[in-house]
Amino acid sequence: MIPSVFSGLFSTTKAPPPPETISQSENEATADSAPVESTAGAKYRLDTAEIEPPTPHIDPSLVESAEPIAEISPASETDGIPGVQIHSSGLNGALTRIPKVKVIPLPVGAPIIPPPVRWRPQWPSVKTVKICFPQGLEFLPPKPEKPKKKPEKVKDPAQPLTAEDADATAEIVPVPEGTPPKATRIKPPADAISLEDRLFFLLQPPLETWLKGQEMVMPFEPFQYQYEGIAWLFAQKAALLADEMGLGKTMQTITAMRLLLRSGQAQRILLVCPKPLIPNWQREFKTWAEELPLTTIEGDTQRRQMLWNLPGSNILLVNYELMVRDMEAFGENPPQFDLVTLDEAQRVKNRGSCTAVNARKIPRRRTWALTGTPIENRPEELASLYEFMEIIPPGGTPDLKQLQSLAKDYILRRTKDLVMTDMPPRLDRDAVLDLTPAQRLAYETAEKEGVIHLNEMGDSITIQHVFELVMRLKQIANYDPLTGDSAKFERLEADMEEVAASGGKAILFSQWTKTIDWLVEKLQRFNPLVYHGKIPTPKREPILAQFKQDPSKHIILMSYATGAVGLNLQFAGYVFLYDRWWNPAIEDQAINRAHRIGQKSQVIVTKFISKDTIEERIDRVLNEKRELFRSILGCGEATTESLGMNASEIFGLFDLKARHGKGTRLIKPAPAKS
């Protein structure tokens, strides 16, 4: 063994510890601690960042000569150590300290062994937080894109989208050159509390990227407000999409469902809609998400039971009636869903109704409701929708302010005025017509007799009695059943001459199938089509297709009950309201079959009103209701009054008086029982 030649040289430092100790302390030295902590008691120090770590190498010549190395005197503290660059950081004093040198005895001639551990500063390990995204469902890939024959043409979002477009193109609309790409980001919903939930939404790509990417081809470029609607729906666990009719609630819903399925957020979805709209939804799914498997619940009980539980059915479509029947049959074990969506959700506006009760029973993680008329009659209807959406407790009765407050988080409503500034206008015109003499005679006779009869009934009259009289008078205003005279028809015929001459198409709405059947006979030269509740469901779609495709079919006659919701008839430029419905929201729904996305020209709406009849009185009440409706949806100062015609208003259509002593008194409906 060679004696340690360095022992005793460093008089100003501690004696070197045993090799194990040195090794350990060296390993523990970190950039954090070594330079600072070891300065205590030390006179010399090296900037460890600028010198090589000490090596165990010993110069053999030193061993041979065994001459002592000159001891570093304290004077060198001020002179500095030769060869050591003084750092300009202010730690110069410490840097002048002599380095610690590790001494390892080696046999003479032993090979030089590199240092076993490379010195490097150690930092505390970096802690991380991780979230994983669920695996999305894989579906059949969409059909390959057709080869591009023509130069890509940018579709102007302002241009209407028509059903024809769906067949004409399957291409993605390219971004115009030089145009910055739009980016609709998904925002975390207000009720997303956990960081993981919030980041999930924040980290989703902009919808434009997602939908234009190869993963999800869209047949058309959605409008910007539709992107926003899709993003909002995607993020909401409870949502009421209340866009005005014609703005594309169906497309937004289908696309949001598609995103949920593709991102692994949902695997089983139930969509409930009115029976007449089943074919409409089937068609829309084919257009907007052809890769999604859609199962329609239909058939006998046994078949339906099988369909409800069919594995691999990602989206189930069922009408309200079957939903009610089957949920009752399921009893305490209804099937579970990740998302339940009610179309025309005003069907659950009455909390106690069978439909509402059974809809609330369906176990689900998310709830969406679609309706263009969230308040059809009273604000309490909105409370029923909120209860279905599980944002208020069962039986909860929020006041108007609470309803409005919840609406901010859970309702998205856009109107055409707001988002479709470039949409062709809707021109409403009231056709106030004098009855023909025969009609007038029939009308006045009926009214006189009817009012006398009601007055004689006194307090025993009910709303039904008044209602019967109203209906009878309205029917006479449509046409005189005895003579067949009709001022409305004369006007309609004249208007239809123009419509047919210009190659246009018109929709006529009436509340009576009897009136519709009467009109069909009279309108034969315009090749009318009929669409009402007496037409079997399988025959309805072909009728609509014929109306759309056959240029000789200039008019379709519809009942409000069957034709007012869910149909896309934007190729028709004329709407006739032959008689008036009781609720302005229903009338608007009817008009919006034509005045919706895809409409290329202005829509002329003609409302027939017979002068000096009950129709004028009804029209006045409906206009007042329409204003009230707007004020509530616009969060204005609203009351809880009915938006439809209530009993008082129907009584008020006539001057009904009962004998009271020597005079008379006004007859009013009995107050509602609480």
Partner: protein, 181 residues
């Protein structure tokens, strides 16, 4: 990192960091498909150098903290490994010395209307992918060729800078919610 099969999505890791006053740097790595759909997100707690370390590392502190410490930890701990790590901070390119995946710096949007995709330029270590020009680590020129094989998966209008916006928003959200204490 082995190359993905044609059926397998090409996974991109979008790595960036933000500086939080008095807390240091917080880094985030978002692993997505080549369509941009997120697969995994991971972020660090704040990493801060003390004054001594700042002196010790001098100008190499940034690349060390961002590239080696933060980037290294995020890539190392990623459950779903990216085939290509992209960053919008040049200092993070240093990460390439510590991981097996190619790392590229996404330069500013260099899209020019009508301009065709430029082939890989191994000599300059650059490659156009979508709208952006990528610059690879100078010591790993082979990365350019490796990634150029996959470039056909990306449409010409792919925006590789957009996911960084998401990552930064997520980091800000995490700091706001207090998830990174």
């Amino acid at each position: 990192m082995s190359a993905p099969t044609k059926q397998e999505p090409f996974r991109l890791g979008f790595l960036t960091a933000i500086e939080v006053p008095e807390k240091g740097y917080v880094g985030g790595l978002l692993v997505t498909t080549h369509h941009g759909r997120p697969l995994e997100f991971q972020c660090t707690l704040p990493v801060k150098a003390n004054p001594t370390q700042e002196i010790l590392y001098g100008p190499t502190l940034g690349p060390f903290i961002l590239g080696e410490l933060i980037g290294g930890a995020l890539v190392d701990k990623a459950g779903i490994k990216p085939h290509l790590v992209l960053t919008d901070q040049e200092q993070i390119l240093e990460l390439r010395a510590h991981v097996n995946s190619p790392v590229a710096f996404v330069q500013a949007d260099g899209s020019e209307p009508g301009k065709k995709r430029v082939q890989a330029v191994a000599a300059t270590g650059e490659l156009r992918l979508g709208r952006q020009m990528l610059r690879f680590h100078a010591a790993h020129a082979e990365d350019v060729e490796k990634i150029s094989v996959e470039s056909a998966r990306f449409p010409d209008d792919a925006d590789l800078s957009e996911p960084f916006v998401r990552v930064r928003e997520a980091l800000q959200e995490a700091l706001k919610v207090g998830g990174l204490r």
